[in-house]
């Protein structure tokens, strides 16, 4: 065998061993692509299944969403209608509130006026009570004077009776003296002249003549209550109206009825209708004299 052949054999052997080593190393470290493929395929299948499930869930969710949308749309429509109704109610309530506020304001002013009127009437009542107290005081003093006057009158009546008895006695003495004088003068043919008193006779007291005068009050009928036969007139105690006064109601030259005053206030008076010829109306004239 030649040397070259030997060298070639050795080189061939070394190169084959080297190549075999490389191949073995490569094969030993090579990846198992089939297993990877199977794993990827399984993973893809599972992912496909998940995608299908998710697609189904998405479709169901879309369906539910549509149903919820329809339901919400109907609810929105009903709520809009309800909102319109509530808005209308709110507007009505606002209007009622404004009217009630106006009423409250009017009632407040009325109450304020009422309080003022009450205060005035309270003041009037106070003044009237003071006047009443004064009148009662005057009445007490007048009663005292009356009692004193009555006592003086009784005393004077007793004096008058005494004087009358004395006068009677003097008259009787005068008559007796006249008779005695006549007895003395008749035999000589004379008679006694009538005695002239030194003190002139006083005339008896006479009552003073009273002259009637018209009251001449005039006013208008302000209210008529035909149900109770009552009427109110526009003049009161400030004008001189008193309870028990009788007013004649006229319209033009026509007599309608009489009003007998049963209650008089400061600026108005209330009375009962009497002698009704025609029904009186507001604005008819009332007067004390026709």
């Amino acid at each position: 065998m030649s040397t070259l052949t030997k060298i070639l054999i050795v080189l061939l052997t070394l190169s084959s061993i080297f190549l075999c080593g490389i191949v073995v190393t490569y094969v030993a470290n090579a990846d198992n692509y089939r297993q990877k493929y199977d794993n990827l395929k399984d993973e893809r299948d599972s992912l496909d299944k998940k995608v299908q499930d998710y697609t189904k869930q998405v479709n169901e969710a879309l369906e539910q969403k549509k149903q919820v949308e329809n339901k919400l749309s109907s609810e929105i429509t009903s709520l809009k209608a309800e909102k319109g109704e509530l808005q209308t109610n709110f507007d009505n309530a606002e209007r009622e509130k404004a009217a009630l506020l106006q009423k409250v304001n009017s009632w407040t002013s009325i109450t304020k006026d009422f309080y003022q009127t009450t205060d005035k009437q309270g003041q009037l009542l106070k003044n009237t009570l003071e006047e009443l107290n004064k009148v009662q005081t005057e009445q007490i003093s007048q009663r005292k004077e009356l009692n004193e006057t009555t006592a003086a009158l009784v005393e004077k009546m007793a004096i008058i009776e005494t004087l009358q008895a004395e006068n009677k006695r003097i008259q009787e003495e005068k008559t007796e003296l006249q008779n005695r004088l006549d007895k003395f003068l008749q035999p000589i043919g004379k008679t006694a002249a009538a005695a002239v008193p030194v003190t002139p006779r006083e005339e008896a007291a006479r009552p003073a003549t009273t002259e009637a005068r018209d009251i001449a009050l005039q006013g208008l009928v302000t209210a008529v209550d035909l149900k109770n036969s009552m009427a109110t007139i526009s003049i009161g105690t400030a004008d001189g109206v008193k309870e028990g006064m009788r007013f004649h109601v006229t319209r033009g030259n026509e007599f309608l009825c009489d009003i007998l005053i049963i209650d008089a206030d400061t600026k108005e008076a209330v009375g009962a209708l009497e002698l009704v010829q025609q029904q009186p109306n507001v604005g008819d004239t009332v007067s004390t004299n026709l």
Binding site: K6, C20, V23, Y33, Q35
Partner: protein, 52 residues
Amino acid sequence: MSPDGQSRGGKATTSNNLYTIILALAFCAVLATAALVAYKCYFQYGTILKIP
């Protein structure tokens, strides 16, 4: 494979059997490598020569 070389050169030389053994080793290595590759191909892809 003959003992001619030893007698002709006069110095010590390797016998031809040694080269035969070396070639056998190389062949065995190649064969084992081929078997390993075939084994791997069969158990990983299910075939030896075809592309799966």
